[in-house]
């Protein structure tokens, strides 16, 4: 294994076993706010015990180690194929060690590849820039339970009375929260994209989940909507695991991108409480971890 392989393996291990600090902080607040001796409190206490245990044992927080999504920002001219090769090696190794579950299934035959490698798995999102001198590598492990409750709305949507404006977007996002109930392992975090096409809209919504929970939106309208969605969702009484209770959402992050005149998509990606994202800055050759990002 090269230095890059080792560093990516460590990135996978930490992502799978350790909750980022920003998420942990909000979960602590959620536990304090919940009523004592309720099933909601039981769920949050279990969640806290689980977070502590996973980190201590260096084992997956959740057995569904999810879709493996790499977001890489590299100096111009960086060899992406070499990175992909190193990442695949690290993913197979992490699967062998039990940091990742065997999670890549042939959609036609049902056969599990056994090492998380196969067509479309893992996935890579590359960007390059002239100014970058180091590599920024972020990893998200997104479980199937929360992925399945993601939703895309095409506005106007008569079923929920959503027009093509921010009020309509709000209705769509809150409908997604209502439909998800506890099935996405709440309390969750939403990544939302307004605009784009069907594919890019979902992709951008996932990228919003790379923002820390305390990050505020630079657009005042979207910032207000983010805060309001969380406040309103937490009045619905869905609660942790859908048991009923005060905390339904831990956060909501929204971006807007341009759209076609004919299209108006609102795409909602739901992230479970077991929010597995981590990132590193690596030296330009990938051989050294300069710092951890979350």
């Amino acid at each position: 294994m090269t230095g890059l392989n080792d560093n990516l393996l460590e990135l996978i291990r930490r992502t799978s076993a350790e909750i980022p600090d920003d998420v942990q902080r909000v979960l602590v607040e959620a536990l304090k706010a919940e009523e004592k001796r309720t099933n909601a409190e039981f769920a949050l206490k279990t969640i806290h015990a689980n977070i502590e245990m996973a980190a201590r044992k260096s084992q997956p927080i959740c057995q569904d180690t999810g879709s493996i999504l790499f977001f890489v920002h590299a100096p111009v001219g960086y060899d992406q194929l070499a990175f992909e090769e190193a990442a695949r090696t690290a993913v197979a190794e992490a699967t062998k060690k039990g940091f990742l579950r065997q999670n890549s299934v042939d959609s036609l035959t049902g056969k599990n590849s056994g090492n998380n490698l196969g067509p479309g798995t893992p996935t890579f999102h590359f960007t390059q820039s002239c100014s970058a001198t180091e590599m920024d590598v972020r990893l998200m492990l997104k479980g199937g339970g929360c992925e399945n409750v993601g939703a895309q709305y095409s506005l106007p949507d008569q079923r929920i009375g959503a027009d093509r404006d921010l009020k309509g977007c709000r209705r769509a996002i809150l409908d997604a929260v209502l439909q998800a109930q506890g099935k996405g392992c709440g309390p969750g975090v939403l990544g939302v994209c307004i605009g784009g096409d069907r594919a890019t809209s979902y992709a951008f919504s996932k990228e919003q989940l790379l923002r820390t929970l305390d990050d505020r939106n630079s657009n005042p309208e979207l910032d207000a909507l983010e805060q309001e969605i969380v406040a309103t969702s937490n009045k619905l009484g869905i609660g942790p695991m859908g048991f009923g209770g005060k905390t339904t959402l831990l956060g909501c992050k929204i971006c807007a991108v341009n759209r076609l005149p004919a299209s108006y998509f609102v795409s909602v990606s739901y992230m479970c409480w077991a929010f597995r994202r981590q990132g590193v800055v690596l030296s330009a050759d990938g051989g050294k971890i300069e710092k951890w990002l979350y």
Partner: protein, 187 residues
């Protein structure tokens, strides 16, 4: 309250939505592939009468020729809704453990056959794996792959909340109705 396998119908009928229980004894995992397989007429080697089916695809690693469970939280149960009632009847199950809850068909099955739906805390794979004292065996590993295989697990004090009982009660139905009503007022 502790539920020891095999569980009697009497005990199951005494449970109600909201009860916190701990399962001790033997549970079998079974998820998407297993449910469809049974629905299509397949048969499993294990006898699960009076037993517990766990919607779970664990992380298993073989250490010194013994399977070790590295993580084992529940998976979303809703996907098994088309098959669950039938599977409860066929296998003679007394409890199904999962997360996210199930629908009307399963609720009717629970009432008819004397079964409950137990909600484990989703994502809590370490706390729950800690309750698994031994991996007793596995079937359908080759056919379905590790997450979808039927793992026979010995568990101790595995914590769950009864969210669907054998009297037609469903916490999921209640919370959905209340949250829908609350949202209508906030729109």
């Amino acid at each position: 309250m502790e539920l020891k396998t095999p569980i009697s119908e009497g005990i199951i009928r005494s449970l109600h939505v909201g009860d916190l229980v701990e399962v001790t004894g033997v549970v079998h995992t079974g998820r998407d592939a297993v449910h469809k397989f049974l629905h299509d007429g397949g048969k499993l080697p294990a006898d699960m009468r009076g037993g517990v089916l766990y919607h779970c695809g664990p992380v298993m690693v073989k250490e010194d020729s013994q399977w070790v469970c590295k993580a084992a939280g529940p998976t979303t149960s809703a996907r098994e809704e088309p098959y669950q009632a039938e599977v409860i009847q066929k296998l003679g199950l007394r409890a199904v453990i999962g997360k996210g809850g199930m629908g009307e068909k399963t609720l009717a099955g629970c009432r008819e056959f004397g079964c409950v739906y137990l909600h484990a805390v989703g994502g809590a794979a370490q706390v729950l794996a800690e309750c698994i004292k031994k991996v007793r065996g596995v079937s359908m590993l080759e056919e379905f792959g590790s997450p979808e295989a039927v793992w026979e697990l010995e568990v101790e004090k595995f914590p769950c909340v009864v969210t669907m009982d054998s009297h037609g009660g469903s916490l999921h139905k209640e919370v959905l109705a209340k949250s829908k009503e609350a949202l209508a007022k906030l729109l």
